[in-house]
């Protein structure tokens, strides 16, 4: 009994040793700012005068008296709901393509990664050009097939799809993660499948996807965490317009906190978002039975 206890203690200590640096990092660099923004969420704070405690007022106003908040919330859910699955699918497809053994693959791989490293300003200018109603490349292609393209960023109905289209361009990070995950699939599995007569599609469905499901899971969880906080693209391309059609959560938070100097209100918004993302993440871990870990859990 005593022996078992000391063994348990030893494992605990070894575990803490391994995670020590990052736990210290959380305490040094994250916990302080998190706690202070949590406190501010219950305050009236304009950055210039000291914060004044007002209880749940911010949360009450946000949830019951703020129409733009609900607009931003719905827009963000729309963005996340459409872009996350599309990006995941596209990234996986590109990774499979980039995983073939053919000549010149290094060049192709690099080109697909370029939009992810190209400077933000260049990307912003290119985006607005691509989506330009009269000269943009997308409408030119649609025109070629006899379709009259929409006004994209100028049209409340099409502005969000336009932004999602741009988001599809920047799947480089997810592609790299999939690509490195594909390398972890032992080649023996494929050889066995080929002997059994499995074609390309079946091979991927039954071997690749289960074996890299931990990587899928990572891209899904991170994809949801990050797209709920989408900001740069929207800020540069539409700044929330037209008619609030693309106002997203963090965009609204930013306006409240820095344009209107309502830091307390902004912090309350941030913590509501934190709660939403945390719940979704916990749910994904709770229902992650589909993720296959070679070494068990």
């Amino acid at each position: 009994m005593k022996l078992l206890k000391s063994k348990k203690l030893r494992i605990n200590l070894i575990g803490y040793g391994f995670v020590l640096l990052s736990v210290l990092g959380i305490f040094f660099f994250n916990l302080g700012p998190m706690i202070s923004s949590f406190y501010l969420a219950f305050c009236n704070y304009d950055i210039i005068t000291p914060p004044k405690f007002i209880g749940l007022t911010n949360f009450y106003s946000i949830l019951f008296n703020d129409k733009i908040f609900w607009r931003a919330f719905v827009n963000t859910v729309y963005y996340v709901g459409v872009s996350v699955p599309l990006r995941l699918f596209l990234a996986f497809l590109i990774a499979i393509l980039l995983n073939q053994k053919i000549r010149g693959m290094g060049i192709y791989r690099t080109i697909f990664y370029l939009p992810t490293v190209t400077s933000g300003v260049a990307m912003a200018l290119i985006w607005t050009w691509v989506l330009n109603p009269s000269f943009g490349i997308i409408n030119m292609v649609l025109n070629f097939f006899g379709i009259q393209g929409p006004a994209w960023l100028g049209d409340p109905k099409w502005a969000m799809p336009g932004i999602i289209l741009v988001a599809l361009w920047q799947v480089g990070t997810q592609v790299v993660i999939f690509l490195s995950g594909l390398q972890n699939v032992p080649i023996q599995f494929y050889e066995a499948a080929e002997i059994d007569g499995a074609g390309g599609f079946k091979k991927h469905l039954f071997i690749t996807i289960p074996l890299i499901s931990p990587i899928f899971f990572f891209n899904l969880v991170i994809g949801i965490i990050q797209s709920f906080q989408v900001f740069d693209k929207v800020y540069i391309m539409t700044a929330g317009g037209p008619a609030n059609a693309t106002i997203v959560y963090v965009m609204y938070l930013y306006e409240k906190a820095f344009t209107w100097l309502q830091m307390g209100y902004g912090s309350a918004l941030a913590w509501i978002l934190f709660f939403i993302i945390m719940m979704l993440t916990l749910l994904q871990f709770r229902f992650s039975k589909w993720v296959y870990y070679e070494g068990g859990r």
Partner: protein
Amino acid sequence: MGRNISFRDTYRITLAYILLTLGAIVFGLPFFWMLSTSLKPIEDVFLIPIKWIPNPIKWNNYVEALTAVPFGRYFINSTKITLLSIIGHLISCTLAAYGFARIPFKGRDILFFLLLGTMMLPSQVTIIPLFIIFKQLGWVNTHLPLYIPSFFGGAFYIFLLRQYFMTLPTELEEAAIIDGCGYMRIFWDIYLPLSKNALITVVIFSFMGSWNDFFRPLIFINSPDKFTVPLGLAGFRSEMGNYWHYLMAASVVAVIPCILLYFFFQRYFIEGIALTGLKS
């Protein structure tokens, strides 16, 4: 039978080339625009429809852009910060990821979700308190806030590495534990060598994250001699927007290290590793 396979292969390879080339045109477009703009005279930059091939080609944009500001200094600063960040992430994140993936210590799940939680609060509300912390440490206007945190983990990298580690079969370490190896030995001798591609991925992302970071240097640095490359680029933007051709020239130069690094490392992503000595 043999001919059949080779026919299927030719078909597969041709299809792959067609799809890849179409994709490459779409994905290469922004960079090509950048390159072409960097070689144009200023009055051609905003012409619509776009003039893809600059005429005349102004090579001089590069000379002028790179001598207008002390880019050499910025490059040295960025290189230093980036290299130290990568080293920091490699040390702290691999250790933590192994701990979270394989050692069943008490409170592991709570700590792990706390770690994930650090990614869930928008930086817009944490940046001011963070600034106050660095100010009290006396780190403002030094490079320390830009690389020291890397030595104390990073949720994205730890989660990524944890997922890789969890794809490795536990039989490996069960055998090692019977041999009397400690966790540190298992981590060092088994997990790290088998996760080369994951480590490369971390190096690539850590490099890109640090090299292209604009927000944090903007907040924490104010003397020009401590500027990083993205801050130097912003200089072209603030001056009335009349220097787009210079901005693009400098941006092309700034992105070259990223491209080279990625090109160099992607070669290690090859289909299927042969896990020798393992159950198949």
